[in-house]
Symmetry: C2
Subunit: 889 residues, 2 copies
Amino acid sequence: VFFFKCDNMLQTSDNKIHVTWVHCILLSPVQVANNMMDMDQDPRKRLCFADGRRKVDYVLVYHYRKRSSVRGSPSQHRLSIISNGSYPLGVEEKDQEGRKDEPAEVVVDVGPPDPADGEKIMIREEFEGNLKDAGLEIEHDKENKAHGHAFIRLHAPWQVLSREAEFLKIKVPTKKVRHKKGLAATMNEVWRKLNQPFQPKVPHQEQEHSRTKFLSHYATHTPSVFCVTFRKYFGEKIGLYFAWLGVYTQLLIPASVVGIIVFFYGWATVETNIPSQEMCDEDQNFTMCPLCDRACDYWHLSTACGTARASHLFDNPATVFFAIFMSLWAAMFLEHWKRRQISLNYSWDLTGMEEEEVHSHTYIVTLCYSLLTSTGHEKLTWRDRLPGYLINISSILFMFGVTCSAVFSVIIYRITISALMAMSSDPEVKSNVRVTVTATAVIINLVVILILDEIYGMVAAWLTELEIPKTETNFEERLILKAFLLKFMNAYAPIFYVAFFKGRFAGRPGDYVYVFNDYRMEECAPGGCLIELCIQLSIIMLGKQLIQNNVFEIGIPKLKKLCRTLKDKERAPKEIVEQPGRRQQWHLDYDLEPFDGLTPEYMEMIIQFGFVSLFVASFPLAPLFALLNNVIEIRLDAKKFVTELRRPDAIRAKDIGIWYNILSGLGKFSVIINAFVISFTSDFIPRLVYQYMYSETGTMHGFINHTLSYFNVSNFKPGTVPSISSLGKDITFCRYKDYREPPWSTEPYQFSKQYWSVLAARLGFVILFQNLVITMSMLVAWVIPDVPKNISEKLKKEKTLLVDVFLNEEKEKLQLIQSLFSRDLTQEQQEELKVSDQTSLPLQQTQPGQLPPTSSPAPRTRPRAASFSQFTRQMSMSPRSDITQHTAV
Amino acid sequence: VFFFKCDNMLQTSDNKIHVTWVHCILLSPVQVANNMMDMDQDPRKRLCFADGRRKVDYVLVYHYRKRSSVRGSPSQHRLSIISNGSYPLGVEEKDQEGRKDEPAEVVVDVGPPDPADGEKIMIREEFEGNLKDAGLEIEHDKENKAHGHAFIRLHAPWQVLSREAEFLKIKVPTKKVRHKKGLAATMNEVWRKLNQPFQPKVPHQEQEHSRTKFLSHYATHTPSVFCVTFRKYFGEKIGLYFAWLGVYTQLLIPASVVGIIVFFYGWATVETNIPSQEMCDEDQNFTMCPLCDRACDYWHLSTACGTARASHLFDNPATVFFAIFMSLWAAMFLEHWKRRQISLNYSWDLTGMEEEEVHSHTYIVTLCYSLLTSTGHEKLTWRDRLPGYLINISSILFMFGVTCSAVFSVIIYRITISALMAMSSDPEVKSNVRVTVTATAVIINLVVILILDEIYGMVAAWLTELEIPKTETNFEERLILKAFLLKFMNAYAPIFYVAFFKGRFAGRPGDYVYVFNDYRMEECAPGGCLIELCIQLSIIMLGKQLIQNNVFEIGIPKLKKLCRTLKDKERAPKEIVEQPGRRQQWHLDYDLEPFDGLTPEYMEMIIQFGFVSLFVASFPLAPLFALLNNVIEIRLDAKKFVTELRRPDAIRAKDIGIWYNILSGLGKFSVIINAFVISFTSDFIPRLVYQYMYSETGTMHGFINHTLSYFNVSNFKPGTVPSISSLGKDITFCRYKDYREPPWSTEPYQFSKQYWSVLAARLGFVILFQNLVITMSMLVAWVIPDVPKNISEKLKKEKTLLVDVFLNEEKEKLQLIQSLFSRDLTQEQQEELKVSDQTSLPLQQTQPGQLPPTSSPAPRTRPRAASFSQFTRQMSMSPRSDITQHTAV
């Protein structure tokens, strides 16, 4: 972990110029080492300055071109600003001097041949001067003077590192953790091995693991010894992602198991389930009203036996239990993650880290950017921001519209295709209408979702830039929120349609709802919409994950890398030919894809979490699919991070940030969604109402008859009666699925009392379910303490220890002072002389009862982190070496 | 604010003995000064040790008795352990040596005449030794050797205070806040004056105010100058209570205003309201079924005109708006309080304070107690605690039962009395049945509530003791939770009954529900239950507040004080007679009531918050009543704290603790309760359903007729027909308020379709209301940033300043070291000698690139609050005097 002071570099000059300077390619020695395995030179020498002692900590790269370049491009002597993809995008907008060359690079003219370029050299020199002022040591590239990439290598000396460690309040352990022994250790090992498939690269509970896991993986790749001192390879932020993924995947196991049990319960009870038996019973000859006008015939309900049986797999009482279980599971997952986060904070020594540090100090780019924006753009008023916000709102509304119209287009496709296929004379076509239409529509949906997903990602980034957020964290949060909103909507709109709208606006026989005056609105399958929801959900979930994982995450980066390599070759073919054996490690790293931030990884997982939690009532196997996906995902991600991407900057982070809020929001949202799915999409409530209010025997016998209303075929509107009918002759009444008054009642075809009672029961169930589950979730959250007991005990112990040490030190100090006073008085005076430029106050602490003067001579600052240790340490004049010592362990 | 180190005192000896020592009466000089205005001596001298220089910071009191005492009591030479009522109650249980004498004192034998008492003297001496070790200075009482109270006076020297300030990370401002000038200041002053009635004694936004307000109030009472250095009088915890009360009361103003508007809207529209017009219309001759068996006659609906009109005052569409408004108000109140809390934390310099400090370091008693329990009772296992938990659960269930049976008894009272009164022959009695019964029942309810409230407070304390919580904070939290649960239930059970149960189990004509085989269950008034709920609510709210405020809060303490004085006089009449002119300030303070903690104050306000938020839909004037109460309450509380109670220990606190959680829980609960009140208790939904589903004209005309079902009087069970009837002759049908099928339908007296549709609408409204309001509340919470902008900016500025100063210091330090190295090398070596007992490591920071050895020689602790300042300060050897200086400003 490295940390530069950027504010120094920026304070002395105006901001506009420095926009072009704050980004730099940050390569660290481990990454360098990682890529030089096949080099023939002594690797230690390769990672060091010319003196062979000071190691190369960072490399600043800029590339430029001779005037006699092949291309007469005006953009000569460019500074390539590559911050591994994590640079704030907003800069591109404001950077008037540069022009966009390719997405990952901001290219700025710094070429000296132009007269205006002299300024650039001055800026560079000033920048380097500032780096030196901050204590960094600089080595210039001497070989590649001609053209192409120029490398400035930086070395951060020990005192700079320790100073920055002080700023960041990095803590280090004082004792080695003892290894567990005996049975407990064996059990632990077994448990670890069981869990291993789900969390490779993820630090485990034990401190020892967390310290070495990343390291051990790369230690074999790292030939130089001093790389080992860098405790972590990717930094806490990426570590937290993998830890989170590990916890999530681990907790998916119980969810999957319960899901499978629920599924098998449905599978086992399908034979004994009275409603599906009744539907399949060919003796109970329910003649149903035709599914489309004219072309469709009356049909027997027993022909829909298959879907009824399939429906029962997902629509059975166990599903209700499962929905409750999954809501509590989500609450437990969040609480568990909170605890894990605190454990990790402790074992990663982040407990003392201040929240604000995360936002401004960890990150060279963040800091510079935030300083820049806070000084350069402080004058941005409400008026400046208004257009951005307006565009934002209107664009998001427009995207909503796009998503909705995409969904609606698919509906239209389904309606028209099914109508056309129904009119076909081929009986083969006719019998497969529903399957064909559903399958093709879902695939179209999937493709639309995948395409819009990419578009929305870009739109969200563009919109966030327009807002000109003040800090990098702010930028990231807004971007994530927007992207999440758009992508969530995109992925779930068709599912929401199937769950809550499909078939509800279709009307009734004799009074159907038509779109475009010709096509009847689609209805659900006779087994209920739940089975369709289930199909929709599984295809979108599986398809999205498979395609995004394999094609996008693996394929696209490889393609991009190829493109980059080809481009670079085209741009500077001579250079590479010139020095084939001298390619440095940073050249190799340069060929890798820059790190795009963790947002896509998290986004994918959060959308998946939505699949697992939101509609779990309709698809109990979702956790299983998610689990299988994640086992692969972790591996692919890890491989990608290690081999496909430039090494990301190590970023300190205490938590997963806004993702936690999104997760928690999804968890809350899932409760109401599941309540509605169970009560409105499934037949759970009608069955209950029938059994306890209307059934004469108290059993489910007669349920199907109860749910079907009568329709007098003479009430069909002219032209909608089936034109050719095998059953039509002797039929007076056909049946349809709804609770309406029969034709012979005083209010024919009005909603019946049953309808209202079932609706009341459904709504009552929603209230009951929602409040019950919310209360239980809050109870779960309340019962599970946020801070694990062992951590809080450790913290307490550390504190007690600290207090004891300080008290002892104070005693020793007093004794020391007394002995010093008595032994040597002149020496004391000399010391006072030395510090006279710092303060003019005498030592007052030793004069009891006397009060200090109320106004001190212009104290420069209030002691922010004034601690007793300062007091005693300074008094006893112990050297700081023991503390700086720890920082490096 | 004083802080003693207790751990030292306890570490060296066993715990059992020290139970008798950890409590001590803590009197501070300000309080002392406050009570000695009428003394004739020089007040400065009175507050000091015999030397006239060192001031008395604390007084330890124990009282003892000669063997020749009037009472032959075995408890001689007692140590009176009075910790202002805030000592952990659990100690009493474990204290086997002592015995309970009176609630506020734990009396322990320490009398020397017994041979066993020699040990006590030893203990006292050891205790005093420990105090001295901790740096405190002690003066013994020399005059009152004979008998009665013995005083040990303590003085905390400057270095002890500054050491503890370091531990607590107390921060102080470096600059004075500039006073605002011009228009802004005037406006500010006007605003402050407007607000003044609602927040006396409460620190205001401006720093200046917050620092001096408590002080200024007492500065006039304080004759000695050095008292001014004590920045706050009551400490942050009590300050936070008043600040919270101020914010709450202030925010009640808009709520009251809106409530009054809603009430007047109802009042203004009552004439144009069609349902109440129809009810009062004597032409629409609805003949209602009798309200009781035999004794009651049929009656005309128009006779209930009064209640119908009154009902409209509270049951009109504006109430729905008001319920939504109040839910958002509650969310806003919580958010606003969060911000205020952070502002106060900043202006009270608590921003750096660690959460844990609050729990363990602030408070002599807390600390000692937690140390005690953690060392003495660490062996408490699950088994030890089980009986306590079991008793807890069963007791709470039992209390639930008590509350419910109290409510049920009142119901029975109402049923029987109304039945008896209805049977009376006196027409005067008959006409006033409802008013008389309701009024007396509510008063009985109120009395029961007030009695149970006191009992439950004691029960909660007793139950919490049984649990043996580990820390004082833990104890307090559990006690509060239990007391809240019991008192909340107690106060709200009758209201819940009226709102949701009354009249719902009464049955229908011909099939009434009877209790004790004779008495019909009570029904609501014809205008709906809402008006009854409203009466219940207003009487309980007003009655509870008036009686608890005036009688309990003012009367009881005065009575107690009187008792104490009488008792003390009886106990030691001679002493007082002996030294009439020599009564010290601590004697006067001793006569005051000990401080009982803030729990009762908070509890009262939270229960009031419940009235304001939970059932606000039924009683829009609740905020107004709460506001009026609070304006008085703040004054009474302030007076009580200043004149009636011993000065409480100043306790540092960052927040209001568990009360915030309770408030937020109440806020959430209020949403669902209000949703149910609007949809089920009020007639809002039936009216809507009628207007949009059943009314032929689209207006409310005919609504009353629609809500009344028909009953064929021939279907009355034998013996229930009115015995004497003026209308009975020509009546076939009577009407009753319900949605049931008429006698001529196929299913007579079954719930009609209207019933189910209204039920569905009601439930739908609950879902809509709940989710809408929850979403809006979350939005409010999300939009209002937790940290006020000016505070976050100030914090940022401070941080930047700090960084700059440190960077400059580092530079100066490096220059200094260089100059020192060149000037004098031998002196450096001498300094190294001095620190050689602290560490054996050489200064390594100055050797760039070289890595320190991986294992340091047994470092004693990890540097917890390691900051850059330590580093630079130690390097530059600046004395600490400037920092300790700040601490005292």
